[in-house]
Point group: C2
């Protein structure tokens, strides 16, 4: 009894870390599972589309039942949102990675395009491209718009930088960013993971096209 008591009060210090370690493990576990749910959803959405995928489908692909899915995620909408966010994060990383580069604007833009293509061919790519405001509540829709806008602004500022340092011909930065993003986003519509063409090759061709243009030099 006394021994137990002692173990109970003193150990608070000693077992504190152990406790936290184990709680931490549990949290990590939960996060890993949550990620699995999101990734499975992304894959399913990409294969069959958002509306043609039921939560029962996703659950059964995880060998689990629907309420389990709800244990990790608020609702279907949030699932889509998370997929979306994951996709956008990949692209944002690509843009941020070029933030402190000393290369010319055009070179940095090319690097961003390569990462963009990589991201768009992932399972999250489809979600990112297809996540339409129409399927999201006003709140989520606003968040999505904000994230998309960040990407857009990132592209535009790279273009501006390129124009400023002379590596890019003066142009309408807005339309240029739209055309670029459009060509890249559209990859999600035609790309199949078993495609012969790797994302990096696609990116290379796109960079060449956008840099040199169609007209012979």
């Amino acid at each position: 009894m006394a021994g137990r008591q002692a173990r109970k009060s003193i150990p608070q210090r000693a077992s504190g870390p152990a406790l936290w370690a184990s709680v931490g493990a549990r949290v990590r576990d939960r996060e890993r599972k949550r990620d699995a749910v999101i990734m499975t959803a992304a894959r399913a959405f990409r294969e069959r589309g958002y509306h043609n995928t039921s939560l029962d489908d996703i659950a059964s692909e995880l060998n689990v039942t629907k309420p389990t899915v709800y244990h990790y995620v608020e609702n279907k909408e949030q699932l889509l949102f998370e997929c979306f966010r994951a996709g956008l994060a990949l692209i944002m990383n690509g843009i941020e990675a070029q933030q402190e580069s000393t290369a010319t604007g055009r070179e940095r833009l090319a690097a961003v395009i390569a990462r963009y293509a990589e991201a768009i061919t992932s399972d999250f790519g489809w979600c990112m491209v297809q996540a339409e405001n129409q399927d999201l509540s006003p709140t989520m829709s606003r968040k999505v718009k904000a994230l998309k806008s960040e990407i857009d602004q990132g592209l535009r500022s790279l273009i501006r930088a390129g124009v400023a340092d002379g590596s890019i011909r003066p142009c309408d930065e807005k339309m240029t960013a739209f055309a670029l993003a459009g060509a890249l986003n559209w990859i999600a519509h035609w790309y199949r993971s078993d495609d012969q063409l790797a994302a990096s090759e696609i990116a290379q061709r796109f960079i060449e096209l956008f840099e040199l243009g169609l007209q012979p030099r």
Copy 2:
């Protein structure tokens, strides 16, 4: 009996034209209404998305009930397909219009881009871009694929022609067509009909970008 028989056989000549005129009128009427159904559907799909639009919605926008809609169209899927086809037809027209032109490949391509942008900003544009195989039966999906492929081939052959006549720098025609179509299709995602920018202006900027490229000359 005999009289009726006679009236039935002889009048075929006299009332034939009248009959056909009126039947013709009825057919035209039916077609006009059917078109109205399809256009209303296209607008609704564009505004709220395919899955978020019920046939009751479409019917009530036409001040009519659901079975009436079914009187003009097989089912929801076909409605989407018709919208899709209407959109693609606009683009195909643009391509065919350049078939017999004597201009250079690059000039003809530019003309096609302009028409393409026009089409994509229409109500049918959205449907064309969003009509995913996922929402269509295998049969319809095949048809859609075939139509899309026609557009793709049209673009590619224009590019080839341009390369052949020296107006376009030798390039990967497949990737170039994909990039072009992507940039154009993506317009449907961001364009709002109340946009300041007219389709023709967008097209102009795109043409300039794709022709000259980003790199200064």
